[in-house]
């Protein structure tokens, strides 16, 4: 019975992994399709799409917009969110529960509601939609995720280390930049990566606030009715390979560090 259970979970998990990977493999395979117009049927293998990505100008432009929006929104959300996370863990203040609620509410609000709310506000105030409004929207939904991610990291830092810094006559700025910040850095990096990923792939909130601007997901959405050019698959696959490479490098270096640590102790 135990043996069978062990065997069954390997099979079940493998099937789940295949399920997760099918559309990814499909997207990557069709980035090599000699598709000409519509990329639905397989017409033969080619490298052309990869070599001339920017022949489909609108795809490239949309990709550039997405990168720009992702970087700006990530910087803003990570800065604001890290500050809040430190305050939540380290200080006592009034309206603490209200503050926590205010931070978590955006995460339990469906994206359509966030998007429609911002759009309704921009409409009432008379702000024209464009890159600026997209960045405002993205910073908003990334902010809460940054707070949650960084807060866990702040909570794991021993306050005694900062006290030691103060005892050694470090001024608050030195204590922060020499002790707190370096220890927070892994959390901040993780939060920034998460923000960028969320921003880069967001469609729903963007669609309500983009006006005439085109991001990579909104390009795909509009093109879906007519057929996606294979260049879109190239960009998505390229981003995928880059991200997987980064994650694998992080995993392997963590494994190497574990081994080194085990060897020294």
């Amino acid at each position: 019975m135990r043996g069978f259970g062990k065997w069954a979970i390997w099979v079940y998990a493998s099937m789940a992994f295949v399920f997760l990977l099918i559309p990814i493999v499909y997207t990557i395979v069709f980035s090599f399709n000699d598709a000409r117009r519509t990329n639905i049927l397989w017409r033969g293998f080619t490298f052309d799409n990869w070599l001339n990505v920017c022949d489909a100008q609108t795809v490239c432009q949309a990709f550039g917009n997405s990168i720009l929006i992702g970087v700006v929104a990530t910087v803003l959300a990570t800065t604001l969110g890290t500050m809040i996370a430190i305050a939540l863990v380290r200080y006592r203040f009034r309206f603490r529960n209200t503050t926590t609620l205010l931070i978590f509410l955006p995460m339990t609000t469906p994206e359509v509601v966030l998007g429609a709310g911002l759009a309704a506000q921009f409409l009432q105030v008379g702000v024209p939609k464009g890159l600026g409004t997209i960045i405002i929207a993205h910073t908003l939904f990334c902010l809460s995720f940054v707070v949650v991610t960084v807060r866990a990291r702040v909570a794991s830092i021993d306050p005694a280390l900062e006290e030691a810094g103060r005892d050694l006559y470090g001024n608050p700025r030195q204590v922060f930049w020499r002790i707190t910040f370096p220890m927070l850095l892994p959390g901040i990096v993780a939060a920034a990566l998460l923000s960028f990923a969320l921003s880069f792939d967001d469609f729903i909130i963007t669609n309500f606030n983009r006006g005439a601007e085109v991001t990579f997901p909104s390009f795909v959405y509009t093109a879906a009715a007519r057929g996606i050019p294979p260049e879109a698959n190239v960009i998505a696959s390229g981003v995928f390979f880059l991200a997987i490479a980064l994650v694998l490098i992080a995993q392997l270096s963590a494994a190497a560090r574990r081994r080194k640590l085990a060897a020294t102790t």
Binding site: Y12, A13, A16, L20, T109, A116, L248
Partner: protein, 303 residues
């Protein structure tokens, strides 16, 4: 390693170290102002918009009013779509749990003796995040299309009646929602199971508990927190999603969900009051469900 783990525990259980300081205000103010400006006031805008009535002079624009009938009208008009959203999201959450729990168990417990394999398995679970959500959904559409392999096989086996498409049905929309949210279910479950002390399972075994009894009395209660955050992370976005159910993706006019209705009313019909009223109904429904759920499960610390 042991030292850092220990200090993490003490600092987490030591709120006494917290101080009052003006620095707190400096740290909080920018972010909180941002949330007030771009989260709270938009919600107020939605409330105001939801009560507006059509401008009697200028066609297509709206003036502030207190037309609460807007809510009655949208609920009457879109009651079917609202119920469908709740049903689709609930089914997708259930299926995601049926896939995500064993997967989280496999990575967190079965693979624990092999750290490198465990890391790779985690990468596979988060891999879908790195490739465009819309392109993944379109890939399923093409796999399920009439010319695709699945329809061919099912048609040949006479399981699929001729003329019946797979895309555009409730099945394909729920399938798509399940697919899109499985990682959100798996990761929190994995996280709680990864910190489960294996000696507890051994103890259950030593006390003559069958694997099923040990699972029910030890593993399941200890993974409740992960299951809870997983269901919330799946249900909330699934209930508001409008990609899977839209006609260009896996849905049809028979599978319209509340997200589609909000989008169409806001961006296409420009019927802003209806879109605003529906958004608020959706938000209120989700908040009520979430608070009931959180209270029932008794883990309020989660939020």
């Amino acid at each position: 390693m042991a030292f850092t783990a220990f200090s993490a525990q003490t600092s987490a259980a030591e709120p006494a170290a917290k101080r009052r300081s003006p620095i707190a205000l400096f740290l909080l103010l920018p972010g909180i102002l941002y949330l007030i400006l771009f989260f709270v006031t938009p919600l107020i805008s939605l409330v105001i918009t939801s009560f507006q009535e059509p401008d009697p002079v200028r066609f297509g624009s709206f003036v502030n009013a207190f037309r609460w009938e807007n809510y009655v009208i949208v609920l009457e008009t879109y009651g079917e779509q609202s119920l469908r959203s709740a049903g689709f999201a609930a089914l997708a959450t259930l299926f995601a749990l049926l896939i995500g729990f064993p997967l989280g168990y496999f990575i967190g417990i079965t693979l624990r003796p092999y750290p490198l394999l465990q890391g790779l398995a985690l990468v596979l679970v988060i891999a879908p995040f790195f490739i465009s959500f819309l392109l993944r959904t379109l890939a399923w559409k093409q796999i399920f299309s009439d010319e695709g392999p699945i329809a061919g096989v099912l048609g040949a086996l006479a399981i699929l009646p001729p003329g019946q498409a797979i895309t555009g049905t409730a099945f394909s929309v729920i399938f798509g929602l399940t697919y899109n949210f499985v990682p959100f279910m798996t990761l929190p479950i994995y996280a709680t199971l990864a910190s489960l002390d294996l000696r507890l399972l051994e103890a259950g075994n030593d006390l003559y508990g069958s694997p099923a009894v040990t699972f029910r009395t030890v593993t399941l209660p200890l993974s409740a927190a992960g299951v809870m955050s997983g269901t919330l992370l799946t249900f909330i976005p699934a209930a508001g999603d409008y990609i899977n159910a839209s006609r260009e993706f896996l849905g049809s006019t028979d599978t319209t969900m509340i997200g589609n209705v909000i989008e169409t009313n806001f961006l296409v019909l420009q019927n802003f009051p209806a879109a605003a009223a529906l958004s608020l109904v959706l938000m209120a429904a989700i908040l009520i469900l979430v608070s009931l759920y959180v209270r029932r499960s008794g883990t309020e610390e989660l939020l």
